[in-house]
């Protein structure tokens, strides 16, 4: 009976219920979009690192975080030296240059990269030939509407699109290593080195050998490196997520508080009727709280649906810059945040309704 009463009350004021639901959906969408952006960025980076086929990664000692935007500080001689170590099949030096974060243009020693994993998967065109040649992946091509043979201006330099590569392997934008080194004034320097060993059983042996060289670089197995790709490792993301969650609770609180307070005022007489029938304070508070929670559940569902719309929009407009995904594991968290906000927001109107004087309430016009 409580459920019917609640449902009929919500139906009786459809516009207010709809607006409240929509207002509560917004923080849910914000939270899910933020998590989807962060997680998408991390998973995309993780996949591109994993698909290099490397077993070990060596980064500059100044590299901070896991998504490396740092400059080049490893001399190419180191790459050559690593190539000569026992159990090392191939070492590939790459140079990253951030162009429009999180987008990075990557200078690659193509011959070594091909030896490591067979090279890029060409969807159109072919490998780099001339110094001004550029490879872009399908997402970047879609985002910038560039095709084979088009000119792309990056780093104040006009590039010629030589090939369109599949997504998910090392880079979205790749050029020849010496060309980027020259443009970056980083002659014979790289940002990081990927190492593939002869046999996966040799990985720990090679890591120990590299550490024994005491080069002062960060040395990680690829497995350990990939495990670092968590939101907590990206500076500020955790704090930003907490701020958005708090905003979600506050918005939920105020939306429900205003909505339910308005509703309670409009229904003063009905509350008087319920009290005349013997409804306790607890019963009236339960009705108001249940209404708020129902609005919050509606807001959560709508917020989740809107996050799909947001994801589709982002992936259509900027698939390369923001590889947003849907993170289902956050649905209950976003829902809980909304429920808490709604429950707190309904408390004052609910208590206010429960403490109405029945005679005054019945006389309310």
């Amino acid at each position: 009976m409580t459920a019917r009463l609640v449902w009929e009350n919500l139906k009786h004021r459809p516009m207010l219920s709809l607006l409240s639901t929509l207002a509560m959906a917004i923080p849910v969408t914000l939270i899910l979009a933020l998590v989807g952006l962060t997680q998408g960025l991390l998973e995309d980076s993780q996949e591109r690192q994993r698909n290099t086929g490397a077993d070990i990664i060596i980064r500059a000692s100044t590299a901070s975080g896991v998504v490396n935007f740092s400059g080049a500080s490893i001399p190419e001689e180191v790459v050559a030296k690593l190539q000569g170590l026992p159990h090392v099949r191939v070492a590939v030096g790459v140079l990253n240059h951030s162009i429009d974060p999180p987008l990075v243009i990557t200078g690659v020693d193509m011959a070594q990269f091909n030896r490591m994993n067979g090279g890029f998967d060409y969807k159109a065109g072919g490998p780099l030939r001339d110094p001004d040649d550029l490879l872009i992946d399908q997402a970047y091509a879609a985002q910038t509407r560039k095709n084979l043979g088009d000119t792309v201006t990056l780093l104040n330099h006009a590039w010629h699109v030589r090939g369109i590569i599949g997504e998910g392997k090392l880079a979205r934008i790749a050029v020849q290593l010496p060309v980027l080194q020259d443009l970056d004034a980083a002659t014979r320097k790289v940002s990081q080195v990927y190492v593939k060993v002869d046999d996966p059983a040799d990985i720990s042996t090679v890591v120990r050998e590299l550490e024994a060289l005491d080069m002062g670089y960060k040395i990680n197995t690829m497995e350990d490196y990939l495990a670092m790709f968590t939101p907590g490792r990206i500076s500020g993301v955790k704090e930003f997520t907490v701020v958005i969650m708090v905003i979600g609770v506050v918005i939920g609180f105020f939306v429900v508080c205003i909505s339910m307070y308005t509703s309670v005022l409009r229904r003063t007489r009905e509350i008087g009727i319920l009290k005349s029938l013997g409804a306790s304070k607890g019963f009236i508070l339960t009705v108001i709280e249940t209404e708020a929670l129902l609005l919050a559940i509606g807001g959560t569902i709508l917020g989740i649906l809107l996050s799909f719309v947001a994801c589709w929009l982002v992936r259509t407009l900027v698939p390369a810059s923001i590889p947003m995904i849907i993170v289902q594991s956050w649905w209950p968290i976003a829902g809980l945040i909304t429920l808490v906000g709604a429950s707190l927001g309904a408390l004052y109107p609910g208590l206010s309704a429960a403490s109405h004087d029945p005679i005054e309430a019945l006389a309310y016009e």
């Binding site: 009463l5 009350n9 009786h12 009727i273 009290k275 029938l277 013997g278 306790s280 304070k281 005679i359």
Partner: protein, 225 residues
């Protein structure tokens, strides 16, 4: 106090505080009602009859005096105690019907049962009364789709669904035309005669008052006759 009475008040007083001024609404009311009685209370506006109705119905506490309703001393009842009284001991019928506008007639009755803790189907006796009220075919309509007379009959059904000891009717015909007024008054009399329902009815209408076994007149917060 007499245990044989269902309502008994002695020197009942109620003072409302309006701003900084004390306004006496009841100035010492002595009333005795036996079980199964149909009592009409008449009097001009401001005579205190509604206040008496509200105190007996547990909608507001008395200020002083003695008042017993179905064996309960209302002066000592807490807010929760008065809620229990409204839930189980008294049923209200109001001038403005006071049906919940969002619910159908059936659910208006059901919500009263639910609040009183009665689950499951209504009992035979109530279904008989429902037939007597003549609204069985209007139960799935919301109040806005019902005439005033139909709404008041639904309100009566809601008031008695939990078989309260006392039915309190506050100007039950005040918003009805003469034909519906007569029908509602006859229903109340039928309820009283058939099932022995104790009824306390406030009215301005002298003709309506004649339906009661006796008429109690009030003026200036006191019973005058």
């Amino acid at each position: 106090m007499n245990d044989g009475l269902i309502i008994e008040t002695r020197d009942l007083r109620k003072i409302y505080r309006v701003g900084k001024v004390d306004v006496p609404a009841l100035r010492g009311v002595d009333l005795q009602v036996s079980p199964g009685e149909f009592v009409a209370i008449v009097g001009p506006s401001g005579s205190g009859k509604s206040t008496l109705f509200h105190i007996i119905g547990g909608l507001t506490p008395p200020t002083a005096g003695q008042v017993r309703v179905a064996g309960q001393d209302l002066l000592s009842l807490t807010d929760a105690g008065r809620t229990q009284l409204r839930k189980r001991t008294v049923g209200f019928v109001f001038q403005k019907f006071n049906l919940l506008p969002n619910l159908t007639a059936r659910h208006n009755i059901a919500v009263a049962r639910y609040i009183a803790g009665n689950r499951g189907a209504a009992d035979e006796r109530f279904l008989e009364i429902l037939n007597l009220l003549g609204v069985s075919d209007r139960l799935d309509h919301k109040p806005a789709a019902l005439s005033g007379g139909e709404q008041q009959r639904i309100a009566i059904a809601r008031a008695i669904v939990n078989h309260p000891a006392i039915l309190l009717a506050d100007e039950p015909t005040g918003n009805l035309d003469s034909q519906n007024s007569k029908a509602v008054l006859e229903l109340l009399r039928d309820l009283n005669q058939r099932v022995g329902q104790t009824i306390l009815m406030i009215t301005h209408n002298p003709e309506a008052a004649t339906y009661g076994h006796r008429i109690v007149s009030m003026r200036d917060g006191r019973i005058v006759q």
